[in-house]
Symmetry: C2
Subunit: 215 residues, 2 copies
């Protein structure tokens, strides 16, 4: 299809698509003439992912480029590519401090991963952005004197395990490996606000149940 | 205690504490002389909450003031105060669009709340920031062509219900009603990065399990 049709079908203006092309977020189309190129269904799918990352996930362009490079890295097998793409997603772990709370938080995180037998997380350890974010979040709880022990965090980790099952079930609704990798990245980002808003709605129900009138 | 001791025990500089006092985020101490005031344990506790909101939750000062006003609103009973304070927490629902996807997302959200029998959420409906955020998140999924039906979101909602049970269990570790309200606000904010990082770690485990070598 031509650029105009790609724009129409994706709902993205041609100016924005040209910007994504210049920034390397979208691979070039097949050149037809000096000024025209042909785009395929894979371009349409890629545009969808770029919008999920940039417009919904507020991911910076440079980071989106890294995520997409991992999505496209054919030197990795399917599972590694899926992991690498989600891995490259930005998570701001905040400034890493080297205080006693951070050291203790690292021990808590390791104990948690061991208890859950999350071997992949244990292997990746400190090099994983998600691990760094977890350590910082636990250290912040500790510094402020809120519950932060293994026993406090464990129920959240078990539920996160069930969330991941739901996530991968959605990913497996897509059939080809490349679509699955793209979906894993997009759904990780797009379901975060779903989850956080549902948690707040559920908190209101639960506090109504526990502390509401007549209780 | 004097300002210097409050600073030492909270780990917050006197300059920052004075700023919080000026901004109305911390109630004034009991005046002793023209230049000295006396602060109590409640000031120490409140400082902890202010730090959770501002430093960890990145909540703007004006919003933090609204949240704290709800925490202090003695005209509300315990459960309403708890709800109002969590309610006042910022959630950026993003620009609300009035397109077919948003209308459909609203129907999905309502059907979800009915299926779960979340009566409080149904009553509050469109006026709740968490509801608005959920509708926008579902509409974004729909616009990008990712799974967004009631059946897709329902597993996340059920898990959010279990998260809320874990949240309120932590809240009930605090004994007085005011401490419980403060904890509900702080833990809602502080456990978000815990949850999101654990979800990413769990996704890596789950994809390793499903697509890893030898599978």
């Amino acid at each position: 299809m031509r650029l105009s049709e790609l724009s129409e079908r994706s709902g993205i203006t041609t100016a924005t698509i040209k910007y994504y092309l210049r920034e390397g977020l979208l691979p070039p189309g097949r050149r037809l003439t000096a000024t025209q190129a042909d785009y395929g269904e894979d371009h349409l799918r890629r545009l969808r992912l770029v919008r999920a990352l940039i417009q919904v996930g507020k991911v910076p362009v440079a980071t989106a480029r890294e995520v997409l490079a991992a999505v496209e890295d054919e030197s990795l097998d399917h599972h590694m590519r899926l992991g690498a793409a989600v891995w490259a997603l930005p998570q701001d772990p905040g400034p890493v401090e080297e205080d006693p709370e951070t050291a203790a938080a690292r021990r808590t995180a390791d104990e948690l991963l061991r208890r859950l037998d999350w071997r992949y997380g244990l292997q990746a350890g400190a090099s994983s952005p998600a691990y760094a974010m977890l350590v910082n979040a636990i250290a912040a709880l500790a510094r402020l004197g809120y519950p932060h022990g293994v026993e406090n965090v464990l129920p959240y980790a078990r539920l996160a395990g069930e969330l991941a099952v739901a996530d991968l079930d959605l990913v497996e609704e897509f059939t080809t490996p490349i679509e699955q990798v793209e979906a894993a990245v997009a759904l990780t980002v797009l379901y975060e606000p779903v989850l956080l808003s549902l948690r707040r709605l559920a908190e209101a129900e639960e506090s109504h149940k526990r502390f509401g009138a007549g209780k």
